[in-house]
């Protein structure tokens, strides 16, 4: 310990909250348990939703816009389909789009951030300008425009959301790479004659990965919301059921004015809970990696 800040000696004795292990944070805190639990539940539904659902979510019946009953736990839609089954099946779209889009965003953002931070010069200037462009453009309108131009499908949704949210990650990665580049252990590796590939692989990436990960988890939350928004606006995949499309259909068919709360509230609640769960997990990750990032002791 070299005394560099007043609180060093005091804080070192206390032990930062963020020094707790990932496991401790995820399972030992209320936030963690909620997040992991809810996310786990929805992931399960994403895989097994169609098996667990009591009815075929697409099956229509004459029992239109009916309130909850023993037969239909959450009532029926304007086409007489079971709301509960739709809810369970709809989890898949949110989870799949959320994670896939976030993955694209992470890969794209990391690659750009890494290249521009490490190589500097013209690479940096061009990529940085590109990043700024994407950051400045309002994402939702951009998504709407892109989705409108292309035929609606899950893939399109994933690509569109991924393409519009990578810039934030890129920025953060670039900043981190810039600091890492000047660190003594990188300088040492360079002094040994290590190639750029080696340095990036062994020194830069491992020290940036936790940051990328924590950031990506939060992007998942954003992606899920974006999907819901786009589906709600009618730009989602019409062949699939998602919570967003449920809301779209509900509003289109006048469910609010019909006071069909069982149709309007559950999808919205699910979206909220999933996003909340993911966000909480993301924040916990950030807490965990923060002291490590700030300084290494």
């Amino acid at each position: 310990m070299s005394g560099s800040a007043i609180t060093v000696s005091a804080v070192d004795a206390t032990g930062e909250a963020g020094e707790r292990s990932v496991r401790e944070l995820m399972l030992g805190t209320w936030r963690g348990r909620f997040g992991v639990g809810v996310l786990g539940l929805f992931c399960f539904l994403a895989v097994f939703g169609s098996l667990v659902a009591p009815d075929d979510p697409f099956a229509s019946s004459l029992d239109v816009m009916a309130p909850p009953s023993a037969e239909h736990l959450l009532g029926t839609t304007e086409q007489g389909s079971d709301v509960f089954s739709q809810l369970l099946v709809g989890a898949r779209v949110s989870i799949v789009v959320g994670f896939a889009a976030a993955l694209i965003s992470a890969l794209l953002g990391s690659a750009v951030g890494l290249a521009s931070g490490y190589f500097g010069g013209w690479t940096d200037r061009i990529l940085d300008a590109l990043e700024n462009w994407f950051l400045v453009i309002p994402t939702l309108p951009l998504m709407i425009v892109l989705a409108r131009l292309l035929d609606p499908s899950l893939t399109v949704l994933i690509v569109v959301i991924g393409l519009t949210s990578w810039a934030g990650t890129g920025r953060i990665v670039r900043a981190q790479v810039l600091t890492l580049r000047e660190r003594a252990f990188v300088e040492r590796a360079r002094a040994l004659g290590a190639s750029d590939t080696y340095i990036i692989r062994t020194h830069i990436l491992p020290n940036t990965a936790p940051l990328i990960f924590a950031n990506t988890v939060l992007i998942v939350a954003v992606a899920i919301l974006s999907e819901a928004a786009l589906s709600f606006l009618g730009l989602g995949d019409p062949t699939r059921i998602s919570w967003g499309t449920m809301l779209e259909n509900a509003f289109e068919s006048g469910a609010p004015s019909a006071e069909a709360w069982w149709y309007v509230i559950p999808p919205g609640l699910c979206i909220t809970m999933l996003v909340l769960a993911v966000a909480l997990i993301g924040f916990l990750f950030e807490e965990h990696i923060n002291p490590r990032l700030r300084d290494q002791r």
Partner: protein, 337 residues
């Protein structure tokens, strides 16, 4: 005349770990006391505790009494509330923080940062008088008053350090605590700052608590010195006595391990091991695991006691008139009370 500062049994704990473990100090008016020790020994925490500036989560206990000249009643720092402390801080006792050079607000010019401190304690002063005070302060620390209109980043490290000292003097305190004021400075700048502190003490009658891990710095500036190890004071006494005739094995080994110009060349024998973990202190004497003379009675904590006139050490085998080979403790010492 009663002492300016009296500290009795100061303890600071966090989560059950003792960072400061029963510290007693006295400081007379105009005296300079050096607080020596390595990082983690608790010296910075002690300084913060004196001003009740400890971060949340740390609890302090112990009696701290301040008797500034001109105050009718002694100030019982230990019992003051936060609101009460705000009247005491800076007015009677101020602090030059560690890494002070980076403690200045980067988006404010120098002059307002100093005048802000003055304003907090003497709100009734006219702005013109305050500005004049600031200019005087800058001159006192050897800077031209024109520097007051600059931003911190436009000043050099040495200049920023002087600004921090000026800031500490803003309300005419009788005691200034300087925590590692020269650590980040070059040897020439360090000499300049130490000279400045010496002059300030002479001109203003300032009492000083100087905290440093650099024994040379303390030798040059202080009248008395207290050596801290693992949250306790292990030796204290006049600078001359402690350096010429140390009475605690830690002090002795520390002095021996320092290279000195004009002294012996070659690497000194290092002290093995490392300072103890505050969460797991050794039984009895905290230096015992690293002490070359440790014996069974060291399992019971030695108290700080006077072993030479004016010099106290926390070691069962003090006073030491000579230092035997490591491991060999003369038999008759075992019989000491």
């Amino acid at each position: 005349m009663s002492a300016l500062l009296e500290v009795a049994d100061l303890r600071v704990e966090v989560r059950g770990q003792r960072i400061v473990d029963g510290v007693d100090l006295t400081l007379e008016r105009g005296e300079a006391l050096g607080l020596a020790g390595e990082s983690g020994c608790g010296k910075t925490t002690t300084a913060l505790a004196l001003m009740k500036l400890l971060p949340g989560g740390l609890t302090q206990s112990g009696a701290i009494t301040l008797r500034p000249p001109g105050a009718e009643e002694p100030i019982n720092v230990g019992r003051r509330t936060e609101a009460g402390m705000q009247l005491v801080r800076w007015r009677h006792i101020s602090l030059v923080f560690q890494g002070a050079m980076n403690s200045l607000d980067p988006v404010k010019r120098v002059e307002p940062q100093i005048s802000e401190a003055i304003h907090l304690h003497e709100a009734k002063l006219r702005p013109r008088d305050v500005r004049e005070r600031v200019a005087d302060l800058l001159k006192t620390v050897g800077l031209t008053p024109a520097l007051g209109s600059r931003y911190p980043h436009q000043l050099s490290g040495g200049q920023r350090q002087r600004v921090m000292i000026a800031l500490a003097l803003a309300c005419n305190p009788s005691l200034v605590i300087a925590d590692e004021p020269t650590t980040a400075l070059d040897v020439v700048m360090q000499a300049q700052v130490l000279k400045l502190l010496e002059r300030l003490r002479e001109d203003l009658g300032l009492a000083l608590i100087l905290i440093s891990h650099d024994l040379g710095v303390l030798a040059e500036t202080c009248d008395r010195i207290a050596v801290m190890y693992a949250g306790r004071i292990v030796e204290t006494g006049p600078v001359r006595s402690v350096f010429d005739d140390p009475q605690h094995p830690y002090t002795k080994r520390l002095l021996d391990s320092l290279p000195v110009i004009g002294g012996a060349r070659g690497v000194a024998v290092p002290i093995p091991g490392a300072p103890p973990d505050p969460g797991n202190p050794p039984e009895g004497c905290s230096f015992r695991p690293r002490c070359p003379y440790e014996a069974e009675r060291c399992l019971a904590g030695p108290e700080l006691r006077e072993v030479r006139p004016g010099q106290a050490a926390a070691c069962h085998f003090a006073p030491w008139s000579e230092w035997p080979e490591p491991g060999a403790v003369p038999a008759e010492r075992e019989a000491l009370p």
